[in-house]
Symmetry: C2
Subunit: 644 residues, 2 copies
Amino acid sequence: MQKTHKTKRYTKTSLMKPIKIVIAFIAFFSVMTSYGQKVLNMKDFNIEGIKDVTPIVVKALEKCKEEGISTLIFPKGTYHFYPTFAPEFFCEIVNNDNGLKRTAFPLIDFHDFVVDGNGSDFIFHGKMIPFIIEKSSNIKITNLSIDWEVPFTLEGLVVANDSEKNTFDIEVKTPYVVEFERLYLSLEREDSPYERKFGKRFAMWEHDNLEIAESILWDPKTMAPMYHTNQYDTHERGVKAEELKKGLIRLKAEMKKLPPIGSIFVSKGDYLQNRTSPAVRIVTSKNLTFKDVNVHHAGSMGLIAERSENITLDGFNVVLKKGSGRMITSTADATHFCNVKGNITIKNCTFENMLDDGTNIHGTYVRVNKIIDEYTLAVETYHPHQNGFLFGEEGDLVQILDQKNLQITSEPMILKKVKRINEKISYLTFDKPITGKVEIYDGIENISWQPTAVIENNVIRNNRARSMILKTRKKVVVRNNHLSSQMASFRITGDLGLWNESSPSNDLLIENNVIENCVYGGNGAQAIFLIDPQYVDKKNFEGKYSKNITIRNNIIKTFDSSILVAMSVDGLTFENNQIIQTDTFKPIFPDAENVQIINCNNVLIKGNTYRKIDGKQTTITIDQKSTNVKVVKGDAFSKKSSKK
Amino acid sequence: MQKTHKTKRYTKTSLMKPIKIVIAFIAFFSVMTSYGQKVLNMKDFNIEGIKDVTPIVVKALEKCKEEGISTLIFPKGTYHFYPTFAPEFFCEIVNNDNGLKRTAFPLIDFHDFVVDGNGSDFIFHGKMIPFIIEKSSNIKITNLSIDWEVPFTLEGLVVANDSEKNTFDIEVKTPYVVEFERLYLSLEREDSPYERKFGKRFAMWEHDNLEIAESILWDPKTMAPMYHTNQYDTHERGVKAEELKKGLIRLKAEMKKLPPIGSIFVSKGDYLQNRTSPAVRIVTSKNLTFKDVNVHHAGSMGLIAERSENITLDGFNVVLKKGSGRMITSTADATHFCNVKGNITIKNCTFENMLDDGTNIHGTYVRVNKIIDEYTLAVETYHPHQNGFLFGEEGDLVQILDQKNLQITSEPMILKKVKRINEKISYLTFDKPITGKVEIYDGIENISWQPTAVIENNVIRNNRARSMILKTRKKVVVRNNHLSSQMASFRITGDLGLWNESSPSNDLLIENNVIENCVYGGNGAQAIFLIDPQYVDKKNFEGKYSKNITIRNNIIKTFDSSILVAMSVDGLTFENNQIIQTDTFKPIFPDAENVQIINCNNVLIKGNTYRKIDGKQTTITIDQKSTNVKVVKGDAFSKKSSKK
């Protein structure tokens, strides 16, 4: 399945000599000193024209570490990285798929180090994580792009459909296999004499064929998910396939509505197998900067950081490569931060065409599985994407929360001991007795690992799901961004039910953003600002979850009705936002309330304007649990405010 | 899916107190001294009636190690082991599936230690490896049985079939799921509030549902694989399923012949996912004895040992539990040894009803992927079941062999350095230059890790595949066994094509065995003694592979024609064997030669008798490549011997 590229002339056999020569060259590489910094230039490794630069880059990195070289620079060019000779590590990556991961840049225990691509294009092949940054500090990655030769998605142009037979036909140019009436997308593998000998059944062995699932329709006119995407929902698994001819496949599934001709059917394969290869994996590291990096594709997230401190993304773009003809960049979130502390800066970035959120900043609750003794709990991670998750270490400050209403039930306690039993269960020992303070399934929150964040001057567009999910107790400022997502623009939430993502937003300012064409997926009446802690019992909860949220001076252009849902916030200001109804799409939920205030306290709604084209009155509901809700006269929502 | 057993009364919540009490008890456990040996009796842990004894046993083992206790003894009883609180290790297990493995007996770095079950039954739940023995020496496991509450196989009684529609119906009592026209067998999981909340789609998350594949028919009258099993072959994947009612499933597949009513359809699920849980995993250990151990079931092999030394199985039985109603014991080989040295003893054992061989003793060739320099090769493991295989370490003696004819092409060389790059690729550095001695895809054999073996007084019966596969350069004696397998009784082979299993048999004696009802699967005319090194080019090979093989004084009762195929042996004696044709089954390959001698040297055939009931002459072919083949007058094969 390996596509032709310009270094194709190097076959395995003819390579042997060049490689030996290259290795000989290593002895003579030059270290340039500028401002007292040692620099290693990859040009001394004669890497141009080499088919697979992975082992050479790995060797160069070893040299950098051994000799204290502070910068590794590439001559501007296009470099191909294969997994064949890549070092490998068993990685448990939160919100991704765990396993042995091969990498071209194992930045493990690196400090004060820069990788400068000098504008180069890095093309990856098959399952790899381009950059693993672990136990490292003061790292800068700059001036490079990351792409994959063969994508982790199947994209097929819909060329026919048949509403009687409930089928549609797609033209597929990416590698695939149809077998036993099922369609699999094929990832790139090394050339396999095996497969040539034994045929495709044996190709299945390598787990590089993923049955299509988690599918979605894309609109090539808007380059975004289809309007009202939800109505085309196929079964996530079990879609039947028939290969009509090479590259033309008929799919049959129970669908609410057939995909229109001209749309693009996109699938990333079956759940828990389609998040193997993020572009950047960060863990237990500190002071990292990504400057002018383009991620054109990734087989999961663009960047996933966990248990790390101070991360700056400046011009870290997850963007389509011009002329690629693809619809999808990262197959999961563009960026994702879990258990990060210090500060996260995301500025001057463009995130587009992801199959999931623009960013998600959160911690992860663990849940009480068993009470071991007066000071010790067995806790579990819950969602399989949290298997092996490092919740906390000795010295972290944590607290207990009630599973039913997400309210904190203990004072902060210090973790005295953490003992991992297996990928699901750890024993936590606290400095204070927990007797009587905790029940099975209650949550534990790590309050030491909570970041501040500044998110400004970014464009986030044309992605499935949200622009941002924000969950941290510390100050977050989101300003001057241009946002357009298929679901809510902002989701502020937390739960002990499924994802178990923490924590409340306790100091959040969202201002001066332009938001347009959001909530067009039809996945329920998702508000543009959706503040909805997820209670086990959705009707019977108490207490507040978040506090101090200010949403002001934003320009909101939206075709549909639902603007703001705020649940369980103490201190909410919704002020001077300019809302303009557009006719881009037909409203999907025209009867949804514009604003819903549920179980909130100290709410100020003031100075908002709303230019409506549907002729309807603005609507707001404020529930009985809410107190001190002030809708100031003159505000767009002041006339019709009602207490339900 | 958790079945009822007698400790069912302990629910999660009610358990909390007992567990605390048990932990308190640990302080008071008694250490008895007998003959100066410290003994820990599990009765002091009050384990009777505890739902899940795993964490208590793990704690007891920690105590044994800390305090130099030499024996852990159980009060006779039935104990249940769950994976919930089991410690976990990332294991790369040759010929099995790799991954994080939970275990109840983590015998890692244990020395001079006995686990004595005192006749107890150990019942395991879900994916676990009961015993992991690693970096340990002088270990004895004795007086216990291993079983699983829910098996790793789906077994269904065929109650109807329809040759027009190509369907058959099975009654299934083990847990299963039918979804999207596919049948999955369900392994046991912990009780899941998750699943109760989100339904079965989410149950799929845990990978404990395996789509049926690798299926076979069993005959409940013989308790063995069906006669001519091969004619019922279903597609290995893609079988369509319809649930007619709870426990009754209609299957549809392209089959050569429909399963007869009354037969048992057995499936272990999809390849590379159905070898997760052997009963005993041994690695890098020495001087191990298993005495009076019954393995009633295993989700892979009964015992898999690699890179270890001196292993004795005496009354290590892989046998059905009486009254269980099951057809299958281990879902792969009963026992399997790879890269073992010293001596292997297998005596007084019964291996029955496995889905693969009785035993397989072999090494594993790695293959040359790239020539790095004058002394260094990049080598690869080939079959996915060899991912991460530890081929050799510094100081091992190795040699190169030609991929095409399996002939040794180098003198023995010492491994000076082994560098693992990833689960597929390692760099081997030798003490001698390899320039000109090696080509891409050639094999490397480890000749330091070759065991002697004594296999006597065993019963191996009613299993799919072979009784034994034997591949070692050292002396092997197989005597006084009673053997009955669905394919060849003995396979002596080696290959650089698929499994890459080494080495030749260079000193093998097979005597005084009773062999009956073999080769009844119909998988080609498999000889009872099948000596067939697997050449890339099956017609164009040269040189000998094995040497010094003696097969004598065996009683062979067989319904079919093929007795001996010997290829590329230098020194073969087939002597005084008493062959009796039976009418147990109708011959499947009646025209197969009784004896075939291919490319052999120094062959003596003498004193064999053959009581035929088909009225045919005995047949023997000796090919042109063979030299010095002597069929002594009076032998059953002397009359019709012919040189082809």
